[in-house]
Amino acid sequence: MLNHIRPALVLTVTLTLLLGVAYPLAITGVSQAALPYQANGSRIERDGTVIGSTLIGQNFTGPTYFWPRPSATGPDPYNAAASSGSNYGPTDKRLVDRVAEASQQLGGQNIPADAVTTSASGLDPDITPANAQMQVARVAQARGIEAGRLEELIASMTQLPVLGIFGEPRVNVLALNLALDELAPEAR
């Protein structure tokens, strides 16, 4: 039996040092040197303050901003330290009621599905172009800006599939709202 125990213990320890310490630290070192922006979480700064990560959705509730998708994280939506989906099954009454209520508030017709469903992570940074279009009237009124200019903004901020194949058309909500602040600053 002893001839099994020695290699088991020795290889567990040595391979832990190689795979659990050397490997991640080496990858960290190379990444921090070569790709610091990505390696540190794709942070966005404005006026010297970190205002978020371009990859992580953040919550917008005021009428002057485009809204992200509903989020199921707790205790608050878009809690980026505790990712979570709703995990409701398709026949869950709470899901059916929540979607019905949310789409009622948005007019109840031809609602883009992403506007009333929670994402898998609760941190989805994107919305569909259709969802952004749907919000134009509200934002235009709240900002006192022509709807046409917002349509143009959305078109310019829409990420299309690469070569028309790879990826989905989407709009990054934080990037859109940052551009919106540039285009039509709110009276603060």
Binding site: H4, I5, P7, A8, V10, L11, T12, T14, L15, L19, G20, V21, Y23, P24, I27, T28, S31, Q38, A39, N40, G41, S42, V50, I51, G52, I56, Q58, N59, A80, A81, S83, S84, G85, N87, G89, P90, T91, D92, K93, L95, V96, V99, S103, G107, G108, N110, P112, A113, D114, T118, A120, S121, G122, D126, T128, P161, I165, F166, G167, E168
Partner: protein, 569 residues
Amino acid sequence: MTIIGWVQIGLVLIATLLLAKPLGLYMARVFSGERTWLSPVLSPVETGFYKLAGVRREDEQGCLSYTFSVLAFSLAGLLALFAILRLQGVLPFNPQGFGPVAPDLAFNTAVSFVTNTNWQNYAGESTLSNFSQMAGLTVQNFLSAATGIAVAMAVTRAFIRSKTSALGNFWVDMTRATLYVLLPLAIIVALAFVALGLPQNLDANFVATTLEGAQQTIATGPVASQEAIKQLGTNGGGFFNVNAAHPFENPNAFSNYLNIIAMLSISLALVYSFGQMVGNRRQGWALISVTIIMLVVGTGVVFWAETAGNPLLHGAGLDVAMGNFEGKEVRFGQSMNALYAAVTTGLSDGGVNAMHSSLTPLGGLVPMFLMQLGEVLPGGVGSGLYGMLVFAILAVFVAGLMVGRTPEFMGKKIEAREMKLAMLAILILPFVILGFTAISAVAEFGVSPILTPGPHGLSEILYAFTSAAGNNGSAFGGLTGNTPWYNTTLGIAMMLGRFAYIVPVLAIAGSLAAKPRVPASSGTFPTDRPLFVGLIIGIILIMGGLQFFPALALGPIAEHFAMLAGQSF
């Protein structure tokens, strides 16, 4: 379903198939003990490890000794990981200051990673320190995968060799799998992941002030290094709670393709290595086609069901064309969610990029069914290959019964002893899955952690034990698995699913290695032709279908008809 969706599915699968041959040939060299282009760098490291461990690489083991080594190494890994999780409060790299993981959760997590299941009852970003993620989880992501590859190579040698008891040396196979296969690939994939946007740092969380003036705490850490081996080793346990649906684990379409290709590549290539090592590449391709056919069908069903959507929600005025969107991210799209769901469960990966719990009933049935088929499509690294060989043995046996000849596979006669052991291995799955599900479904402590009542509730339990016993690790996340009952029973299910399968499989290997290799004759049933591919698919479907159909009828199928009838729970 869309044409562009199918084009993406096709391209990802083609990319993986193109990798199968070069990677398969490379691994065949590695496990035949030959020199490779990495040898000048790795050979001294390898030799150093053997010296320290007292391993003599020319000492080959019989099946009993090989089995003991697998078990001893897994036990050492289990104890080490359990200790790290319990002691993380006093260990370094703990910027968030997390305390020790609770004993039942630490047990569950340790078993989960040592068995290559990677079931997540823990929420990574709010429970585990960077040290636990790196020295604990990342290490077992490598080692459990390397153990699977080693066992698969021992079984492969049983077919090549003749009248011997020697199956190879576990320590050498495991070390070579780690050093020559997993580590180099992990380095490449990890750096590619960082370039695509995955974080890789040792910081605590950072705080952002949102445009509306709120504070948002954002969790980061050494994500890319773990994500790379998580996929290559078909582990699937994520850095974050929501796994590869998290924008930091999977930020865009291209990281998603890389995730899928990384998890599929080694398992598929190992099947090719098998063909190469037994001297019949067509055999490798035949087994690969079994996998691809079934994955494409599974993907198609999920794609169709999710695009058709949930009629309970359509009444509320939703744009029907977008399909079922609950629990999905905008950036992937229905086709890549469908492919991911099929691949992660056909493999024993278990990472997810959409919440399986929120899939439509039929869309959720497919991942569950693919796991119940025995995790062989193409299954976990190593474990998929030896699982598939068990099904191949069953298939030639059935073929032998039909024509009245002694069945043989790869020149080895399949006799009563091998059949008994193969059935013993196969029957572990229904025994564990259906047994624990039945107990949980009638007990208060089993039912109260359910999130969605009605038939979906049974699906949540059934999915959990299916995933645990199949060493998959994906979940219907509605079920609160972090309870003493589920932590313990899922832990037991994972151990039985891994080791109660490995032991008979290695016994089959021992028995086959001792037999002479008989040359193929005109009466030999060819196992590298479409007829055999069809037969083995039939065997896999019948084993999975017959055993689990009643349970599936009460869960997802009942829920499907309830949904069509407009009923919610």
